[in-house]
């Protein structure tokens, strides 16, 4: 969230006139081709097209179009939870058959007892969860979970990986709802969030990460968090003092793209140890794995 410091910096560095004519001429000089029709304001201002010069052999990865939704993207990034909520509420309904949500989860697992003379260690292991949630009623929901095989030491005695992750381990439970067909209601939404700000942030995790939470429900949660004393927004990172969990919301889409969780108070891990990170990507697709 922008604060007084950002306002002061903006005041110190005021916006100067950005001349569209100037930029159009610059574009013409650089590329000596007709402006692309769908580009910004200065397109219609540029001089008449000159001979087109093909710039060949260029491989440019433009900033990837957000996979979140193929629908129209708001052009102004959100600068607060409230704006992110509005973004979600106004987002056009996608027409694709499935919403595919992919979670990459690093979970810290401890082995042993932290006592003198005992073996104790912590290892971070990675899981991947893919959920295909259909748009059509009655269609099957498909979820795959797996240990990716990747791990790294966190501290202490390291055990063989097959002692840390069993062969049938599917990773942490990020949301509590179990459904087989669409539509599916995220059950954690039925419970009110705690009053205490830190507990509220932690409790919001299920509904913020669940693939079943609708845009409207997500937006309502954002507004509840925005109204919570002490909740901060810093360029999309939402946090509150004392909470184990923080989230990152993509200011361009309004969607949760990451969460970070630190160790509980009674854990023998050092203070501040991150015990779980979740990276979330959303896409709309007509294909599912089944």
């Amino acid at each position: 969230m922008r604060d007084l410091l950002d306002d002061d910096i903006a005041e110190l560095y005021p916006v100067r006139g950005s001349d569209d004519v100037r930029l159009a001429r610059l574009r013409e000089q650089l590329f000596t081709e007709a402006p692309v029709r769908r580009s910004r304001n200065w397109v219609g201002i540029a001089a008449a097209a000159v001979a087109v010069v093909m710039i060949t052999g260029l491989v440019v990865m433009l900033r990837p179009a957000h996979r979140d939704a193929p629908a129209t993207m708001p052009s102004t990034p959100a600068t607060s939870l409230q704006e992110a909520a509005t973004m979600l509420e106004l987002a056009e309904k996608p027409t694709a058959k499935y919403r595919h949500v992919r979670y990459l989860v690093w979970q810290t697992i401890t082995v042993g007892v932290a006592e003198a003379g005992s073996r104790f260690g912590a290892t971070a292991v990675e899981f991947e969860i893919n959920a295909w949630v259909p748009s059509a009623k009655g269609e099957m929901i498909v979820i795959y979970r797996k240990f990716t095989g990747r791990s790294h030491p966190v501290m202490g005695q390291q055990e063989p990986i097959d002692r840390i992750v069993s062969s049938d381990s599917k990773g942490p439970v990020l949301w509590g709802t179990f459904c087989t067909t669409a539509p599916c209601k995220e059950t954690s939404l039925a419970l009110p969030l705690p009053v205490d700000p830190a507990q509220r942030m932690d409790a919001a995790s299920s509904r913020l990460l669940s693939p079943y939470t609708t845009n409207e429900e997500l937006a309502a949660t954002y507004r509840e968090l925005a109204a919570t004393p002490g909740v901060r927004w810093e360029n999309g990172t939402v946090s509150v003092d004392g909470a184990r969990t923080s989230f990152h919301i993509d200011p361009a889409t309004g969607r949760v793209t990451a969460s970070v969780q630190t160790k509980p108070a009674d854990s023998p891990l050092p203070d501040g140890t991150v015990t779980m990170t979740v990276d979330v990507t959303n896409e709309w697709t007509d294909r599912s794995p089944s």
Partner: protein, 165 residues
């Protein structure tokens, strides 16, 4: 394809650069940035970061050549308690009185004294609106380092503002 890159990024890049060093210099910098990008296209690796981080990284390196200008403007802003556009005009005119804004004095002074990389990090996020990740990519910094560094910078500035409020 670079034309599309220009269409998407030139305007905000120009706005950011103009705020830092003035419109005339910003014109040159935008032009040089895209020329450098076209010449150095092989250096862009999408696996390592976003195209925004890459472009602003090029622009930031070019901006370093004009650091003295920005520092001069910041020192003028600190002296008179004005913003940078007024500071720029003060360079060319004799002014008998300006309306000083104390908070601008403070911020300008701190920005003038901090290392270039810290100033760039702070302004890439606050002025240019880059994410911390993109700013880290632009500056060739580890994202975690960028986050903690930015947090430290902002905390220090906010504490100073509070003390002087």
């Amino acid at each position: 394809m670079f034309a599309e890159l220009f269409d998407e990024h030139a305007h905000p890049l120009h706005r950011y650069l103009a705020r830092r060093v003035g419109v005339d210099v910003a014109d040159d910098l935008v032009s040089e940035t895209f020329l450098a990008a076209m010449r150095g296209k092989e250096t862009y690796d999408p696996e390592r970061g976003s195209v925004v981080g890459w472009l602003y990284g090029i622009a930031t390196n070019l901006l370093r050549g004009h650091a003295k200008r920005e520092l001069r403007l910041l020192r003028t802003a600190e002296r008179y308690g004005v913003d940078l556009s007024v500071a720029e005009s003060l360079e060319h005119t004799v002014v008998t009185r300006v309306d000083a804004r104390a908070h601008l004095r403070l911020i300008a002074g701190e920005l003038a004294r901090m290392p270039d990389v810290d100033r760039d990090l702070l302004l890439l996020v606050s002025l240019a609106g880059l994410t911390k990740q993109e700013a880290a990519e632009a500056l060739g910094m580890n994202p975690a380092t960028a986050r903690s560094r930015l947090h430290r910078l902002r905390t220090k500035l906010k504490e100073l503002e509070l003390r002087n409020a």
